[in-house]
Symmetry: C2
Subunit: 285 residues, 2 copies
């Protein structure tokens, strides 16, 4: 990995490489008016909020960046970080349930759809804070965000004020089941297409064990084929094979990272991957 400059947003540069917890960059003079927005995407329970917290803490404390935390989960009860911008100021799932006598499923969908009308205000709020990194924590139930209007429209709104990328966060426990991991990686490509931004795959919860098996698959995507054959009793259909080929290509283009948001491990590598994703020398799209 080489240190390189962001495309069209050269306020950040790697000054050191390789060592975890080493200072990569000291705060610099602001050269431009745009931010780097990072959308924390991923399935329910993947650890989106925890990684928002850990990554933000690392960027602030280890790198001295100004970080803005944005919560877009209208159903969140508790967050590990203190949001600077919070969708719950405009929309809350529990309030919709109470006021409109809706069930949980209906209220979650209504909240996501309703959020869209507040995007201009949310983005304007983000702009006022004028931070270098904007970490955007997405709703708990990811399918609502990525498949309905709210996800693509959020990204479009964010892109008006800054470069925007996404992290697709995958629970390491899913990675232990080859079919689940394949499915999660496939969803990441789909989500990248749907949101229209570069997406980095991040396997989270490395602290829960099984990391050796996961590391082996990450370093050699073809091992997934064998693992799926074993899991499915040897019979892989043509469609699954087609999918596997696609995913092997995805994993070769960008090897998913392994992190522990809880322990704050692997965050320096994540930062490097974010930098590379925006570099002319490391285009992941």
């Amino acid at each position: 990995m080489n240190a390189c400059m962001f495309v069209g947003n050269n306020r950040f540069s790697l000054v050191e490489d390789n060592l975890f917890d080493q200072t990569y960059r000291q705060p610099e003079h602001r050269l431009g008016g745009s931010y780097l927005n990072i959308v924390m995407a991923g399935l329910a329970g993947a650890g989106k909020s925890q990684l928002t917290h850990s990554f933000g803490k690392w960027l602030k404390e280890k790198q001295g960046f100004e970080v803005c935390y944005v919560n877009l989960d209208a159903g969140a009860e508790w967050l590990p970080y203190e949001p600077d911008v919070d969708v719950r100021r405009f929309v809350r799932v529990d309030q919709i349930m109470k006021d409109e006598s809706l069930g949980i499923n209906g209220a979650i969908i209504a909240a996501a759809d309703r959020m869209v009308q507040y995007l201009d205000r949310i983005v304007s709020w983000i702009s006022e804070l004028d931070s270098e990194f904007v970490l955007v924590d997405s709703p708990g139930q990811y399918e609502i965000f990525v498949f309905r209007d709210s996800g693509p429209k959020t990204v479009q709104a964010l892109q008006k004020v800054g470069t925007t990328i996404a992290l697709n966060i995958i629970d390491a426990q899913l990675a232990l089941s080859p079919s689940a991991f394949l499915t999660a990686l496939e969803l990441a490509t789909a989500s990248s297409l749907r949101l229209g931004v570069t997406t980095i795959n991040v396997v989270n919860k490395a602290d829960l064990g099984g990391t050796e098996k996961i590391k082996a698959i990450l370093s050699n995507p073809r091992l997934m084929r064998e693992a799926i054959e074993q899991e499915r009793g040897g019979a892989i259909t043509d469609l699954a094979l087609g999918l596997l080929e696609h995913i092997e290509h995805v994993m070769t283009a960008q090897r998913p990272l392994l992190v522990s948001a809880l322990r704050g491990e692997g965050i320096a590598d994540l930062y490097k991957a974010v930098n590379e994703a925006l570099c002319v020398c490391g285009d992941l799209t």
Copy 2:
């Protein structure tokens, strides 16, 4: 489409073809002890519960089959059908929120995980009812079901007592956005791999308009490529192209059906597709 017999479960046969609302089959003498379980899969808001209702009504009233309705959504407040077997007897999202002071997201995940321990009792309950068709309505938030243990384990439990297939229900409004439709179809393949059963793609809510555009794409998968190029301003990445090729292959293997669960339209075609999916002459796997 040819009329044909189910593999290993030849209690059903098509006696007529082509015409909607025509009687396809009169109840026959039961030849075996196994059922046909149909898992209603699909993203939140796709109309899983409505299709469970409409399909069950059609099977009962038009075909004279014995139908058992199973609700596996522990967060459901209201259902359009009367469930014969109901997971809410064992687990309820609202109760978990109250008893364990959990937020909405945490309670939905906890409910799905907890359901697994009641699967034996649920399947035994289904067996006692001894119906010809078992329609299994899955949890509202599909990602929880398909990516965590509850989905695969539910299917494994159902397979002990009968042939099991899944319908992947897609909101027609998603089909109007090419990238969303592509993503939803991709999720269907992934879900099929994860659940390990034959899956039929069904586009629902044909009543909401835009059917001509959807029909055109369904009948010519290559149109999706053009539509995505238009939507994304001409630039399709290599990864998206790989995905498109895979999905074109999927759509050619099984053209997604267009139905309106609300109006009960297209249900006869759905029944034929279910029959074909289990036929030696129409293997969709």
